[in-house]
């Protein structure tokens, strides 16, 4: 059981979220060679420890989030909206 502190909704059960995969990948340019796309999509490191992931609060506020989580302990270190414009909106309080 993981509880994720959503920046809009507060701490919520992970059943409300859907997992969006590795949040640390930098995808190649659209016209990059096939090999570059192959590597970005299929050659993933299976991190043991702290990693950045994307999650969507799909049954809550629907924000896409960047979540820093320990894959061993499930400890969560940080959660921020994936969209910097929305991060600013929430920081402003209004």
């Amino acid at each position: 059981m993981i509880r994720i502190p959503c920046p809009f909704c507060g701490p919520r059960d992970h059943a409300e979220f859907s997992y969006g995969g590795d949040g640390s990948i930098t995808y190649p340019a659209l016209d990059a060679p096939l090999e570059a796309w192959h590597d970005a999509v299929f050659l993933r490191v299976n991190i043991c420890g702290r990693q950045v992931e994307t999650w969507q609060h799909v049954h809550g506020c629907r924000l896409w989030l960047k979540v820093e989580r320990d894959t061993m302990s499930h400890e969560i270190y940080s959660v921020t909206p994936a969209d910097p414009a929305l991060a600013k909106v929430l920081e402003g309080g209004e």
């Binding site: 809009f8 909704c9 507060g10 919520r12 059960d13 059943a15 409300e16 799909v58 049954h59 809550g60 506020c61 629907r62 924000l63 909206p81 969209d83 414009a85 929305l86 600013k88 909106v89 929430l90 402003g92 309080g93 209004e94």
Partner: protein
């Protein structure tokens, strides 16, 4: 305005007391479909939040638009901040439509028939809901005028507390199924079912 489409009409023929079985003594849960409301969604952009919020607040007759997870009640309606860039405005059915918003500011969308409104009340209301909802519904954590969206049997719903009741906005196409789950589970506490007419005062301070 067209008649609101509801998913629960067939259930109202059961009558007020029909479901009040399964447990001796008074019913400790009541489930009512609230009818006669209009729901309008205000959506905006990150840089128009303040302007769009002010417009929504004016439509509701509130002093200011509510912040995240909050409900504000005004002279003309109730405003719920449901998402970072969205408010829901609940008003009486048949009220004047919202004037078109300039596209640069946001969009107002009529959603009245998208949701079925179920009011859950009674001594065991929060216990019943916690059979299904992963939320802390104790009064300190979820006081009146707090709104949240969550998952109910894998379906996204929105609920808020108004005085002594929990108000559930269920997606219409799932409402009958979720209503059956609530009724089946509430039998252990004793329940009554029925309808209620929307009134702005219901959701106000009690």
């Amino acid at each position: 305005m067209a008649d609101q489409v509801t998913a629960l009409r067939a259930y109202h023929d059961l009558g007020e007391e029909a479901a009040g079985s399964g447990r001796p003594g008074p019913a400790r849960v009541s489930l009512r479909e609230v009818l006669g409301f209009a729901l309008t969604q205000f959506a905006c952009w990150p840089d128009t939040l303040i302007e769009a919020g002010a417009l929504a607040a004016r439509a509701a007759g509130c002093e200011a638009a509510p912040g995240p997870g909050q409900v504000a009640t005004g002279a003309r309606g109730r405003l719920l901040r449901v998402e970072p860039l969205k408010w829901w405005l609940i008003r009486e059915a048949g009220c004047a439509p919202i004037a078109d918003m300039p596209a640069e500011l946001g969009a107002a969308l009529e959603l009245s028939s998208a949701r079925t409104w179920v009011r859950v009340e009674g001594a065991e209301a929060s216990r019943l809901l916690n059979h299904f909802l992963p939320l802390d519904l104790r009064p300190d954590a979820f006081p009146p005028d707090r709104v949240a969206s969550t998952a109910f049997h894998h379906v996204g719903i929105t609920l808020w507390r108004s005085g002594g009741a929990f108000e559930l906005a269920l997606p219409r196409s799932f409402a009958a199924s979720l209503w059956e789950l609530l009724v089946d589970s509430a039998r252990q506490y004793g329940l009554v079912t029925g309808e209620a007419a929307y009134a702005l005062a219901d959701g106000g301070e009690k």
